[in-house]
C-alpha cells in the first residue's frame, strides 16, 4: 500500500488524450522517478496530483485522502510539497522571509490573520527558517532579496521552502532543467543529502537519465499518456519498450 495511489486516471484536452488510464503506486520512503519523452503526459500527471488540474476520471489518493477536487493549498496542507521546473520563489522578499512563509502556513494553516505580532518576534519560526537555509547552504544570504540570486541558489531556496514544511511527499518537476552539469551535480548531491537526513518520499519527473539513475529507487516510464514500464533503474535501462518510446517515436 503506497503513500500515493493513482488509479485509472484519464485527462483529455479537447481531442487530445493527455492521460490514458494511468496507474501508479508510490511507496512511502522511496524515490520514484517518472520519465518519458516530451508530451508523454508527465507534467499533466503532476498537475493532477497537486490540484492544478482535475482528472476526468480515476482516483488519486494520498495517505488515505482523495485528492480529487481538493484545492492546491489543501493538498499542500496534507503534506505534499513541490518544486517547479523554473524555481518559483517570492522574488521581492528576502531568503529568510521566503522560507518563513511556508513555515507559517505549516504552523497556522491556510489562513490566519496574524497581523499583530511582528515577524521578528516569531523567533521559533525564524530559527527554524535559518536552520533550513543552513541545510541548503544559503545561511549567509538570509537577508538577500531572492530575485538577486543565481538559478542554482533559487533551486536551493525552493527546496528549503519545501523542506521546512516537513512534507510527506515531495514532487520535483525536472529539478535540474536548464542547469549546467556542475549545478546539476550539485543539486543531485543536495537531494541525496536531504534524502539521508529527512525521510521524505520523493517523486521526480525528469528528462536527464543521469539524475534519474543517481537518485531514483524506482522508475516509471510514460509515453503517450500512459505508463508503459515500471521497475528498478537497472531493469529500465535495458528495456526495449523504453528505448522505442524515446527513440522510435510514436508507433508503439
Amino acid at each position: 500500500m503506497g503513500i500515493l495511489e493513482i488509479s485509472g486516471v484519464n485527462k483529455r484536452f479537447g481531442g487530445l488524450k493527455a492521460l490514458d488510464d494511468v496507474n501508479l503506486d508510490i511507496a512511502a520512503g522511496t524515490v520514484h522517478a517518472i520519465i518519458g519523452p516530451n508530451g508523454a503526459g508527465k507534467s499533466t500527471l503532476l498537475n493532477c496530483l497537486v490540484g492544478r488540474l482535475e482528472p476526468d476520471s480515476g482516483s488519486v489518493s494520498f495517505n488515505g485522502h482523495s485528492l480529487l477536487g481538493v484545492k492546491a493549498h489543501q493538498i499542500n496542507q496534507f503534506g505534499v510539497s513541490r518544486v517547479f521546473q523554473t524555481p518559483e520563489i517570492f522574488g521581492d522578499l528576502t531568503l529568510l522571509e521566503n522560507v518563513m512563509i511556508p513555515a507559517f502556513t505549516k504552523r497556522d494553516g491556510a489562513f490566519k490573520l496574524n497581523a499583530w505580532p511582528s515577524v521578528d518576534g516569531e523567533s521559533e519560526v525564524r530559527d527554524q527558517a535559518l536552520f533550513y537555509l543552513e541545510e541548503v547552504n544559503l545561511a549567509g544570504k538570509a537577508q538577500v532579496r531572492a530575485d538577486e540570486m543565481s538559478r542554482g541558489d533559487k533551486r536551493r531556496l525552493e527546496l528549503a521552502m519545501c523542506l521546512i514544511q516537513d512534507p510527506k511527499l515531495l514532487l520535483l518537476d525536472e529539478p535540474t532543467a536548464g542547469m549546467s552539469r556542475a549545478d546539476t551535480n550539485d543539486t543531485i548531491d543536495l537531494l541525496k543529502k536531504i534524502g539521508e537526513e529527512f525521510n521524505i518520499t520523493k517523486v521526480i519527473i525528469e528528462h536527464d537519465m543521469h539524475v534519474v539513475f543517481s537518485l531514483a529507487k524506482k522508475v516509471s516510464v510514460m509515453a503517450q499518456g500512459t505508463v508503459i514500464v515500471e521497475g528498478a533503474p537497472n531493469e529500465i535501462k535495458g528495456d526495449e519498450r523504453v528505448q522505442e518510446a524515446y527513440l522510435g517515436g510514436a508507433h508503439l
Binding site: V50, G51, K71, A72, H73, N76, Q77, S81, R82, F84, E88, I89, F90, G91, D92, L93, E97, M100, I101, P102, F104, T105, K106, D108, G109, A110, F111, K112, L113, N114, A115, W116, P117, S118, V119, D120, G121, E122, V125, M161, Q165
Partner: protein, 402 residues
C-alpha cells in the same frame, strides 16, 4: 518597544512629533507676510491631511502590499461618511458613535465588494472595483436621494431627532463634539507675528492618524504583512506553500476598506456633510495617485502623497493674479506683467496643470515616489556612510507593482 524594530520606532517617533507639532510646522510664515499664502496650518487643511493620510495608509495596505489596484476605494469612504452623518442625525452629535458606525458600514460594504471583486486579479479586479464604486456613486447621486440627499449631500437639519442629544440649540444645529469637546473649537496662539491655531478637531484626527499609522506598521511587519507581500510577488507559488491567498487578500481589502470608512467618519465628524462626489472614480483615482506619488509599499509614502496633493488643491488653487502682482510688486511694471503672465497658467484655476506636471515629474524622475526623493536627498548627506543599506526603513520595497 511597541512591538516595533528600532528603525520603525524612530520613524514612528518622528511621525508623532511632526503630527503633534503640525500646527506650528505648517505655519512657517508670519501671519501678515506675503508668504503667509503658503501656510497650511489652518484646521480644515490639517484635518484633511490627517484624514486623507488615513485613507491613503489604508489603501496602501491593499495596494502597496498585495499589489491589487482598487479603483473603487472612494466608495467605502463615501459609505462611511453617509453612515456617520446618519448617526449624527439620529443619535447624537458625539462623533464617537458616528466614527464607529462609519468603520463598520465601510467594512461590511468592502467585504461584499471585495468578496466579488477578488474573484479576479490584475486589471479585471481593478475594473470590477471601479464598476462597484461608480454604481454606488451614480445611485447615491440619483435614485438613492432619500438616503443620501443626492447632489446636495447628506447634511444635518434642525429637526433631526438626535435621540441621545438635542435637535437644536437656539435655532442652530449643535456642533460635533467628542464627549463635549467641540471639534471646531481650539486655541489660537500668537507668538510675535506668527499665529498658530491649535484645533481640537485636528488633534482628534491626529490621534486617529497616529493609530492608523501604528497599525499599518504592525501589519507591515507581521506575518500577515509578509504573506501579503508574497501575494504581490508570486501568485504561482502561493498555493503550493499551503497558503490560501483569497482570505488574505480579502482581509487586506476589508482592512483598507475600514481605513477608508474611518477617514469618511472623521470627515463628517469634522464637517458634517456627506456628498456623493466623494464616491466618484476621480476620488478613487485620487487616493491611488496619493499612494503612488508618495511611494507605494512604503510606510510613510501614502501620508506624504496625501499631504502633497491636498496642499496643491487647497493652497495653489487659491493663489490669484492679485497675489502674484503683490509678490512681484518690487519689479518694474513691464517685468511684473511678464512674470505674472508666465506664472498665471499654473496657479489659481490652473492648479490642475501644476498637479499634472508634478505627477509626471515625480514618476519620471522618482520612480519610488516622494519617499525615494527623500532617500536620495538623505543619501547626499550620508555619502560618507559606507552602508549600502542606508536607505532607511521607510522604503520597504520601492517597486510598486500593479
Amino acid at each position: 518597544m511597541l512591538g516595533l524594530n528600532s528603525k520603525d520606532q524612530k520613524l514612528f517617533l518622528v511621525v508623532i512629533v511632526v503630527t503633534l507639532l503640525a500646527p506650528f510646522i505648517l505655519n512657517p510664515f508670519p501671519e501678515n507676510s506675503e508668504l503667509a499664502q503658503f501656510n497650511a496650518g489652518y484646521p480644515d487643511l490639517m484635518q484633511r491631511f490627517a484624514i486623507f493620510g488615513i485613507f491613503a495608509i489604508g489603501f496602501n495596505i491593499l495596494f502597496g502590499l498585495t499589489g491589487y489596484l482598487s479603483f473603487g476605494h472612494a466608495a467605502f469612504l463615501g459609505v462611511g461618511s453617509y453612515a456617520g452623518v446618519w448617526m449624527l442625525k439620529l443619535l447624537s452629535m458625539n462623533v464617537v458613535p458616528a466614527i464607529i458606525m462609519s468603520v463598520i458600514f465601510a467594512g461590511l460594504f468592502s467585504l461584499l465588494v471585495g468578496f466579488v471583486s477578488l474573484r479576479r486579479s490584475g486589471i479585471y479586479f481593478s475594473i470590477l472595483t471601479l464598476a462597484f464604486a461608480q454604481m454606488s456613486f451614480a445611485l447615491a447621486y440619483s435614485v438613492l436621494t432619500p438616503i443620501t440627499n443626492g447632489e446636495t449631500g447628506l447634511q444635518l437639519a434642525l429637526d433631526d431627532p438626535r435621540i441621545l442629544g438635542v435637535s437644536q440649540i437656539d435655532g442652530s444645529i449643535p456642533p460635533t463634539n467628542f464627549f463635549g469637546l467641540e471639534m471646531r473649537d481650539g486655541f489660537e496662539l500668537a507668538l510675535g507675528p506668527w499665529v498658530f491655531t491649535l484645533n481640537f478637531g485636528y488633534y482628534l484626527c491626529a490621534v486617529f492618524v497616529l493609530g492608523a499609522f501604528y497599525l499599518s506598521m504592525r501589519i507591515f511587519n507581521s506575518p500577515f504583512g509578509m504573506m501579503l507581500r508574497a501575494i504581490k510577488t508570486n501568485q504561482t507559488r502561493l498555493p503550493y506553500t499551503g497558503m490560501n491567498p483569497k482570505p488574505y487578500t480579502l482581509a487586506a481589502f476589508v482592512i483598507s476598506g475600514m481605513y477608508a470608512g474611518l477617514a469618511g467618519g472623521l470627515m463628517v465628524a469634522m464637517d458634517p456633510l456627506a456628498g456623493a462626489e466623494r464616491m466618484q472614480w476621480t476620488a478613487s483615482g485620487e487616493v491611488v495617485l496619493m499612494t503612488i506619488l508618495g511611494g507605494a509599499g512604503t510606510l510613510l509614502g501614502p501620508l506624504l502623497g496625501a499631504g502633497v496633493i491636498k496642499y496643491f488643491e487647497n493652497i495653489f488653487s487659491k493663489i490669484n493674479d492679485t497675489i502674484l502682482y503683490e509678490w512681484f510688486s518690487f519689479m518694474p511694471d513691464g517685468l511684473q506683467d511678464v512674470f505674472v503672465f508666465l506664472i498665471h497658467p499654473f496657479i489659481g484655476k490652473g492648479w490642475h496643470l501644476t498637479l499634472g506636471i508634478m505627477f509626471m515629474l515625480v514618476v519620471i524622475f522618482l520612480p519610488g515616489g516622494v519617499v525615494e526623493g527623500g532617500q536620495r536627498f538623505m543619501r547626499l548627506f550620508k555619502r560618507g556612510d559606507k552602508g549600502s543599506k542606508s536607505s532607511g526603513d521607510a522604503a520597504r520595497s520601492a517597486s510598486p507593482a500593479e
